[in-house]
Protein backbone atom coordinates (compact mmCIF):
# COMPACT_ATOMS: atom_id res chain seq x y z
CA UNK A 1 0.00 0.00 0.00
CA UNK A 2 1.52 3.32 -1.02
CA UNK A 3 0.09 6.62 0.02
CA UNK A 4 1.90 9.64 -1.33
CA UNK A 5 -0.09 12.64 -0.31
CA UNK A 6 1.59 15.85 -1.25
CA UNK A 7 -0.40 18.35 0.78
CA UNK A 8 -0.10 17.21 4.35
CA UNK A 9 -0.75 20.64 5.71
CA UNK A 10 -2.51 21.54 8.87
CA UNK A 11 -6.24 21.27 8.13
CA UNK A 12 -5.43 20.97 4.45
CA UNK A 13 -5.20 24.73 4.06
CA UNK A 14 -1.79 26.34 4.13
CA UNK A 15 1.21 25.07 6.01
CA UNK A 16 1.61 25.04 9.76
CA UNK A 17 4.00 27.97 9.61
CA UNK A 18 1.39 30.04 7.80
CA UNK A 19 -1.07 29.58 10.64
CA UNK A 20 0.57 31.37 13.59
CA UNK A 21 -2.57 31.10 15.73
CA UNK A 22 -1.67 27.47 16.43
CA UNK A 23 2.10 27.75 16.87
CA UNK A 24 3.08 27.39 20.54
CA UNK A 25 -0.21 29.03 21.49
CA UNK A 26 -3.17 27.97 23.57
CA UNK A 27 -5.82 26.97 21.01
CA UNK A 28 -8.92 29.08 21.60
CA UNK A 29 -8.63 30.73 25.00
CA UNK A 30 -7.55 29.89 28.56
CA UNK A 31 -11.11 29.69 29.85
CA UNK A 32 -12.12 26.86 27.54
CA UNK A 33 -9.03 24.88 28.55
CA UNK A 34 -9.93 25.23 32.23
CA UNK A 35 -13.29 23.74 31.24
CA UNK A 36 -11.71 21.02 29.12
CA UNK A 37 -9.34 19.92 31.90
CA UNK A 38 -12.20 19.98 34.42
CA UNK A 39 -14.28 17.74 32.13
CA UNK A 40 -11.35 15.42 31.47
CA UNK A 41 -10.85 15.12 35.24
CA UNK A 42 -14.53 14.26 35.68
CA UNK A 43 -14.27 11.50 33.07
CA UNK A 44 -10.99 10.33 34.67
CA UNK A 45 -12.87 9.77 37.93
CA UNK A 46 -15.50 7.72 36.08
CA UNK A 47 -12.74 5.60 34.56
CA UNK A 48 -11.14 5.02 37.97
CA UNK A 49 -14.50 3.92 39.42
CA UNK A 50 -14.91 1.61 36.40
CA UNK A 51 -11.48 -0.03 37.06
CA UNK A 52 -12.31 -0.63 40.72
CA UNK A 53 -15.84 -1.90 40.00
CA UNK A 54 -14.50 -4.25 37.31
CA UNK A 55 -11.92 -5.66 39.72
CA UNK A 56 -14.67 -6.38 42.28
CA UNK A 57 -17.31 -7.72 39.85
CA UNK A 58 -15.30 -9.39 37.03
CA UNK A 59 -18.16 -11.67 35.94
CA UNK A 60 -20.63 -8.82 35.47
CA UNK A 61 -18.05 -6.78 33.52
CA UNK A 62 -17.15 -9.82 31.42
CA UNK A 63 -20.75 -10.60 30.43
CA UNK A 64 -22.09 -7.02 30.33
CA UNK A 65 -20.62 -5.86 26.97
CA UNK A 66 -21.96 -9.02 25.24
CA UNK A 67 -25.56 -7.90 25.78
CA UNK A 68 -25.01 -4.30 24.64
CA UNK A 69 -25.71 -3.20 21.07
CA UNK A 70 -22.20 -2.94 19.58
CA UNK A 71 -23.57 -1.61 16.29
CA UNK A 72 -25.15 1.35 18.10
CA UNK A 73 -21.85 2.02 19.89
CA UNK A 74 -19.92 1.82 16.63
CA UNK A 75 -22.36 4.11 14.77
CA UNK A 76 -22.13 6.62 17.62
CA UNK A 77 -18.33 6.53 17.36
CA UNK A 78 -18.59 7.12 13.60
CA UNK A 79 -20.92 10.08 14.25
CA UNK A 80 -18.57 11.67 16.78
CA UNK A 81 -15.39 11.15 14.75
CA UNK A 82 -17.08 12.53 11.64
CA UNK A 83 -18.42 15.51 13.54
CA UNK A 84 -14.92 16.30 14.84
CA UNK A 85 -13.63 16.07 11.29
CA UNK A 86 -16.36 18.45 10.07
CA UNK A 87 -15.61 20.95 12.84
CA UNK A 88 -11.90 20.92 11.91
CA UNK A 89 -12.90 21.46 8.25
CA UNK A 90 -15.13 24.37 9.31
CA UNK A 91 -12.19 25.97 11.12
CA UNK A 92 -10.00 25.47 8.06
CA UNK A 93 -12.65 27.17 5.90
CA UNK A 94 -12.86 30.31 8.05
CA UNK A 95 -9.07 30.59 7.99
CA UNK A 96 -9.19 30.95 4.23
CA UNK A 97 -12.08 33.43 4.53
CA UNK A 98 -14.89 31.13 3.40
CA UNK A 99 -17.58 31.63 6.07
CA UNK A 100 -20.34 30.07 3.96
CA UNK A 101 -18.30 26.91 3.55
CA UNK A 102 -17.51 26.98 7.26
CA UNK A 103 -21.23 27.15 8.09
CA UNK A 104 -21.93 24.16 5.83
CA UNK A 105 -19.27 22.07 7.59
CA UNK A 106 -20.66 23.08 10.97
CA UNK A 107 -24.20 22.06 9.99
CA UNK A 108 -22.81 18.63 9.08
CA UNK A 109 -21.19 18.45 12.51
CA UNK A 110 -24.46 19.44 14.21
CA UNK A 111 -26.28 16.74 12.20
CA UNK A 112 -23.75 14.18 13.45
CA UNK A 113 -24.36 15.38 17.02
CA UNK A 114 -28.11 14.93 16.39
CA UNK A 115 -27.56 11.45 14.94
CA UNK A 116 -25.55 10.54 18.05
CA UNK A 117 -28.37 11.68 20.33
CA UNK A 118 -31.04 9.82 18.30
CA UNK A 119 -29.00 6.59 18.26
CA UNK A 120 -28.33 6.84 21.99
CA UNK A 121 -32.01 7.35 22.85
CA UNK A 122 -32.93 4.43 20.54
CA UNK A 123 -30.23 2.30 22.21
CA UNK A 124 -31.63 3.05 25.68
CA UNK A 125 -35.08 1.91 24.48
CA UNK A 126 -33.55 -1.21 22.95
CA UNK A 127 -31.73 -1.90 26.23
CA UNK A 128 -34.95 -1.74 28.22
CA UNK A 129 -36.45 -4.29 25.79
CA UNK A 130 -33.51 -6.57 26.57
CA UNK A 131 -33.98 -6.15 30.30
CA UNK A 132 -30.94 -3.89 30.67
CA UNK A 133 -31.71 -1.13 33.16
CA UNK A 134 -29.73 1.12 35.48
CA UNK A 135 -30.01 -1.27 38.42
CA UNK A 136 -29.61 -4.57 36.52
CA UNK A 137 -26.03 -4.92 37.82
CA UNK A 138 -22.89 -2.86 38.53
CA UNK A 139 -21.70 -2.94 34.90
CA UNK A 140 -24.94 -1.49 33.56
CA UNK A 141 -25.02 1.12 36.32
CA UNK A 142 -21.57 2.25 35.12
CA UNK A 143 -22.74 2.04 31.52
CA UNK A 144 -25.76 4.28 32.08
CA UNK A 145 -23.87 6.70 34.30
CA UNK A 146 -21.01 7.18 31.83
CA UNK A 147 -23.03 7.23 28.63
CA UNK A 148 -25.81 9.50 29.94
CA UNK A 149 -23.22 11.93 31.28
CA UNK A 150 -21.47 11.88 27.91
CA UNK A 151 -24.81 12.33 26.12
CA UNK A 152 -25.39 15.54 28.11
CA UNK A 153 -21.98 16.81 26.98
CA UNK A 154 -22.83 16.06 23.34
CA UNK A 155 -26.14 17.92 23.81
CA UNK A 156 -24.72 21.17 25.11
CA UNK A 157 -21.65 21.01 22.85
CA UNK A 158 -24.06 20.74 19.88
CA UNK A 159 -25.70 23.90 21.22
CA UNK A 160 -22.30 25.62 21.17
CA UNK A 161 -21.87 24.59 17.51
CA UNK A 162 -25.25 26.21 16.74
CA UNK A 163 -23.99 29.34 18.48
CA UNK A 164 -20.85 29.29 16.29
CA UNK A 165 -23.06 29.01 13.18
CA UNK A 166 -25.03 32.06 14.36
CA UNK A 167 -21.84 34.02 15.00
CA UNK A 168 -20.54 33.14 11.53
CA UNK A 169 -23.83 34.18 9.94
CA UNK A 170 -23.86 37.59 11.59
CA UNK A 171 -20.18 38.10 10.76
CA UNK A 172 -18.78 38.05 14.30
CA UNK A 173 -16.43 35.16 13.48
CA UNK A 174 -14.19 36.16 10.60
CA UNK A 175 -10.89 35.12 9.07
CA UNK A 176 -9.07 37.51 11.43
CA UNK A 177 -11.21 36.99 14.51
CA UNK A 178 -12.33 33.45 15.29
CA UNK A 179 -10.73 32.59 18.62
CA UNK A 180 -14.17 31.88 20.12
CA UNK A 181 -14.83 29.47 17.27
CA UNK A 182 -11.48 27.73 17.93
CA UNK A 183 -12.42 27.40 21.62
CA UNK A 184 -15.78 25.82 20.70
CA UNK A 185 -13.98 23.44 18.31
CA UNK A 186 -11.55 22.37 21.08
CA UNK A 187 -14.45 21.65 23.44
CA UNK A 188 -16.18 19.56 20.77
CA UNK A 189 -13.01 17.54 20.17
CA UNK A 190 -12.76 16.92 23.93
CA UNK A 191 -16.25 15.37 23.88
CA UNK A 192 -15.03 13.12 21.04
CA UNK A 193 -11.86 12.22 23.00
CA UNK A 194 -13.87 11.12 26.04
CA UNK A 195 -15.90 8.77 23.83
CA UNK A 196 -12.66 7.33 22.38
CA UNK A 197 -12.06 5.81 25.84
CA UNK A 198 -15.72 5.12 26.78
CA UNK A 199 -16.54 3.08 23.65
CA UNK A 200 -13.90 0.34 24.15
CA UNK A 201 -14.40 0.28 27.94
CA UNK A 202 -18.12 -0.43 27.67
CA UNK A 203 -18.58 -2.21 24.33
CA UNK A 204 -15.29 -3.90 23.46
CA UNK A 205 -13.20 -4.88 26.51
CA UNK A 206 -14.24 -7.81 28.66
Amino acid sequence: MTITATDFNLNGSGTVTQEPETLNKIPGNRAVWVGIFAEMTEFALFFLVYFIAKAHYPEQFNQGPLKLNTLAGMLNTFALISSSYFVAKALAAIRINKPDQSIKWLWRAVCCGGIYLVIKVWEYHWNVGQGIETNTNKFYTMYYYMTFNHLLHVGWASGSLLWAIHQLKVGRYTQKNHLGFTAIACYWHMVDLAWVIIFPLLYVLR
Binding site: T2, A5, F47, S84, L205
Partner: protein, 98 residues
Protein backbone atom coordinates in the same frame (compact mmCIF):
# COMPACT_ATOMS: atom_id res chain seq x y z
CA UNK B 1 -4.50 1.28 -2.72
CA UNK B 2 -2.28 3.84 -4.47
CA UNK B 3 -2.92 7.53 -4.05
CA UNK B 4 -0.40 9.72 -5.83
CA UNK B 5 -0.18 13.50 -6.00
CA UNK B 6 -3.48 13.81 -4.22
CA UNK B 7 -4.58 16.70 -2.09
CA UNK B 8 -5.45 14.34 0.74
CA UNK B 9 -4.87 16.39 3.85
CA UNK B 10 -3.79 15.17 7.27
CA UNK B 11 -7.39 15.73 8.34
CA UNK B 12 -8.84 13.48 5.65
CA UNK B 13 -6.30 10.75 6.36
CA UNK B 14 -6.98 11.01 10.10
CA UNK B 15 -10.73 10.60 9.53
CA UNK B 16 -10.16 7.49 7.37
CA UNK B 17 -7.78 5.95 9.92
CA UNK B 18 -10.07 6.66 12.87
CA UNK B 19 -13.09 5.15 11.12
CA UNK B 20 -11.04 2.07 10.15
CA UNK B 21 -9.73 1.53 13.70
CA UNK B 22 -13.25 1.95 15.13
CA UNK B 23 -14.58 -0.70 12.75
CA UNK B 24 -11.74 -3.02 13.75
CA UNK B 25 -12.53 -2.43 17.44
CA UNK B 26 -16.19 -3.30 16.87
CA UNK B 27 -15.14 -6.45 15.00
CA UNK B 28 -12.96 -7.44 17.97
CA UNK B 29 -15.90 -6.79 20.33
CA UNK B 30 -18.11 -9.16 18.35
CA UNK B 31 -15.66 -11.96 17.64
CA UNK B 32 -12.60 -12.12 19.91
CA UNK B 33 -12.40 -13.94 23.23
CA UNK B 34 -11.05 -11.78 26.05
CA UNK B 35 -7.30 -12.02 26.59
CA UNK B 36 -4.44 -9.79 27.68
CA UNK B 37 -3.24 -9.55 24.08
CA UNK B 38 -6.65 -8.23 22.95
CA UNK B 39 -6.67 -5.77 25.85
CA UNK B 40 -3.18 -4.56 24.86
CA UNK B 41 -4.30 -4.16 21.25
CA UNK B 42 -7.38 -2.14 22.25
CA UNK B 43 -5.31 0.02 24.63
CA UNK B 44 -2.89 0.71 21.76
CA UNK B 45 -5.79 1.72 19.53
CA UNK B 46 -7.17 4.08 22.21
CA UNK B 47 -3.76 5.77 22.56
CA UNK B 48 -3.35 6.08 18.80
CA UNK B 49 -6.89 7.41 18.18
CA UNK B 50 -6.53 9.94 20.99
CA UNK B 51 -3.18 11.14 19.67
CA UNK B 52 -4.54 11.44 16.14
CA UNK B 53 -7.54 13.51 17.27
CA UNK B 54 -5.40 15.73 19.51
CA UNK B 55 -2.69 16.35 16.92
CA UNK B 56 -4.77 16.86 13.80
CA UNK B 57 -8.34 17.75 14.79
CA UNK B 58 -7.51 19.70 17.96
CA UNK B 59 -4.24 20.96 16.41
CA UNK B 60 -2.16 20.35 19.53
CA UNK B 61 0.88 19.11 17.61
CA UNK B 62 2.29 22.64 17.38
CA UNK B 63 0.39 24.25 20.25
CA UNK B 64 1.34 25.33 23.75
CA UNK B 65 3.67 22.70 25.22
CA UNK B 66 1.97 22.52 28.66
CA UNK B 67 -1.44 21.78 27.18
CA UNK B 68 0.17 19.35 24.77
CA UNK B 69 1.94 17.57 27.65
CA UNK B 70 -1.16 17.13 29.82
CA UNK B 71 -3.42 16.05 26.98
CA UNK B 72 -0.90 13.58 25.57
CA UNK B 73 -0.18 12.22 29.06
CA UNK B 74 -3.90 11.53 29.56
CA UNK B 75 -3.89 9.27 26.52
CA UNK B 76 -0.74 7.50 27.69
CA UNK B 77 -1.83 7.07 31.31
CA UNK B 78 -5.40 5.81 30.78
CA UNK B 79 -4.68 3.14 28.16
CA UNK B 80 -1.85 1.95 30.44
CA UNK B 81 -4.22 1.92 33.42
CA UNK B 82 -6.80 -0.09 31.49
CA UNK B 83 -4.17 -2.71 30.75
CA UNK B 84 -2.70 -2.73 34.27
CA UNK B 85 -6.12 -2.90 35.96
CA UNK B 86 -6.82 -5.99 33.84
CA UNK B 87 -3.43 -7.52 34.57
CA UNK B 88 -3.57 -6.89 38.33
CA UNK B 89 -7.34 -7.07 38.84
CA UNK B 90 -7.12 -9.30 41.95
CA UNK B 91 -4.55 -7.03 43.59
CA UNK B 92 -6.68 -3.99 42.75
CA UNK B 93 -9.75 -5.66 44.27
CA UNK B 94 -7.80 -6.48 47.44
CA UNK B 95 -6.38 -2.96 47.63
CA UNK B 96 -9.79 -1.31 47.30
CA UNK B 97 -11.85 -3.68 49.46
CA UNK B 98 -13.66 -1.92 52.29
Amino acid sequence: MIIKNSTLSALDLSWILLMTITTANAFVAETAEPSLAITALICGSIAYKGRRIMDYFMELNHANSTIQFFMRSYFHVFPAMIFLSDLFSEELAALTAL
